[in-house]
């Protein structure tokens, strides 16, 4: 079964037109249209998944992750339009660079190959996976959780129809419908047939893919993200940045978990955070380490609460509206903390002293470093980098937003005009 899947995917990859062919733009348009056409059937299948998951005891929060609504359709159609608008730039021919007096070198985009996406229970990932890698010529195998099996079945029909209407091989998208982990293991052991692995989901799943397979992985290591607040910072701005980095999407990978603040301004920063929370009635739990002075004398309505920061909070993602505050003795201690506990996703510095910001930027190591702003700015569309399928914390190939441009490799094209290597080599000193 695994062999048949891989043979079909590789055959589709081989039969597909080159990256940049107009068929891929047609595919984006067809996918958007057919999503709308089939949306009632997709919602019906999704309702069955949600009902079954409820009967199996999934919590309301998790059921919400499975559930699709009309708002999801709007966002997915917007994504197809965005991808369509980005295709031309990503696949544009390279103008070329002269090499000596004998030729020109240029790069032409090529697909990464067969991409295997493993994820859990967010059905929108099925559409993202069927769209972004395929739009630049890759074949994809999509393995979602069995909690969304029926939804994925309906979305598989949408992708298949869109491919056929666009004139692309039908097996460029394969939605796996076998929940058996044996198949997952078998695919992870096929670096000969799978070129890239993109796991999205729980830390266990991502760790497993990284350790159990020799297939190159594009993955996020999660976001244990920090904001360093230097004593020169505008503390009111720092408070606003901290809350904006946390509260709108507390479970997102680019959210802030910990403020590392110079000890001499730690108490003032906490006061500023509480004032900012009270202004907009934003619910937030602030965990303070023993070196941070506790706020006193505040009365009236409090949307915030103060808690103790524990050792086990260092290096964790709270995944809710909780943020830690730890006092440090300057930049060196903040950077040491980040090196020990950070996940290399997003780190930030708040300082009026430009020298401190420059030093932080030079020494901190993460996929993105934000200076005097919200950590949630680390996002492909927001940064003007384009639509993203994930944010990578890996060090090779792609780091940060995984955009269409990250889902292609390239060939060097050498316009040699009849040049032979031997005379060139002989002429070198």
């Amino acid at each position: 079964m695994t062999d048949a899947l891989l043979t079909s995917a590789r055959a589709a990859l081989a039969a597909a037109p080159p990256t940049g062919d107009p068929a891929y733009a047609r595919y984006c348009r067809e996918l958007a249209e057919r999503l709308a056409d089939h949306w009632p059937a997709v919602l019906k299948a999704n309702a069955q998944d949600v009902t079954l998951a409820g009967e199996r005891g999934l919590s309301p929060v998790l059921l919400d992750r499975l559930r699709l609504t009309d708002a999801h359709l709007g966002r997915l159609q917007q994504l197809t339009r965005a991808a369509l608008s980005e295709l031309a730039e990503v696949t544009a021919p390279d103008a070329g660079v002269p090499v000596g007096d004998w030729g020109v070198r240029l790069r032409t985009p090529k697909p990464l190959g067969v991409v295997f996406m493993v994820y859990e229970a967010r059905p929108t990932v099925t559409v993202e996976g069927a769209l972004l890698p395929v739009a630049v010529g890759n074949a994809v195998l999509l393995r979602g959780g069995k909690e969304i099996a029926r939804t994925n079945g309906a979305l598989s029909v949408v992708a298949r129809e869109a491919l056929e209407a666009a004139g692309l091989p039908a097996h460029l998208v394969t939605v796996l419908d076998d929940p058996d982990r044996t198949q997952l293991r078998a695919l992870l052991k096929r670096p000969d047939a799978v070129d890239v692995l993109i796991p999205r989901g729980s830390p266990s799943l991502i760790d497993y893919c990284r350790s159990a397979s020799s297939i190159p992985v594009i993955a996020s290591g999660g976001g244990v993200n920090h904001l360093y607040v230097h004593r020169s910072a505008d503390l009111d701005l720092a408070a606003e940045v901290a809350l904006d980095s946390k509260l709108p999407e507390p479970t997102a990978c680019n959210t802030a978990e910990m403020l590392l603040v110079d000890a001499e301004v730690a108490g003032d920063l906490v006061s500023a955070i509480l004032r900012a929370a009270e202004r907009d009635d934003r619910q937030v739990a602030v965990r303070l380490d023993p070196r941070v002075p506790r706020p006193g004398g505040r009365t009236g309505h409090r949307p915030w609460r103060i808690e103790d920061l524990h050792e086990h909070d260092l290096g964790r993602e709270f995944l809710d509206a909780t943020i830690g505050v730890r006092a440090v003795d300057g930049l060196d201690e903040a950077l040491a903390h980040i090196r020990r506990y950070g996940s290399g996703h997003t780190e930030g510095v708040l300082a009026r002293d430009a020298g401190v910001s420059a030093e932080f930027t030079r020494r901190a190591d993460a996929a993105a470093i934000v200076v005097n702003g919200s950590l949630r700015l680390h996002d492909g569309p927001t940064l003007g980098l384009g639509s993203e399928i994930s944010i990578s914390t890996g060090r090779m190939h792609v780091r940060g937003p995984v955009t269409l441009g990250s889902l292609v490799t390239h060939s060097w094209v050498v316009e040699a005009r009849g040049t032979l290597r031997s005379p060139l080599t002989a002429s070198r000193p």
Partner: protein, 92 residues
């Protein structure tokens, strides 16, 4: 029959997996058996079960049923250890 060594191995593996799943920088020894799976320290939810199952299967060299966690009531690390132990026993 599960030996004491097996219990120790399962306990270690389960704790390692729930630590990873909760995105914590702790050692298995830092987690008590009675620690809630979804509480102050650990944050484990059922959507992470695929990753947890494959990791446990590989670490313990056992095969666990797909529906291992379905319909079970488990709230603490100890509950999870007992479920995996019983499944491991059945798989041998």
């Amino acid at each position: 029959m599960i030996t004491q060594l097996d219990r120790a191995a399962v306990t270690e593996s389960v704790k390692r997996v729930v630590i990873a799943e909760s995105r914590l920088s702790l050692r298995p020894a830092d987690i008590e058996d009675h620690e809630p799976l979804n509480g102050e320290i650990l944050r484990v939810n059922s959507l992470g079960f695929v990753g947890m199952l494959v990791r446990l299967e590989d670490e313990l060299d056992i095969v666990l049923p797909d529906d291992l966690f379905v319909g079970r009531s488990f709230h603490t690390v100890h509950d999870l250890i007992e479920i995996v132990l019983s499944a491991a026993q059945a798989s041998r």
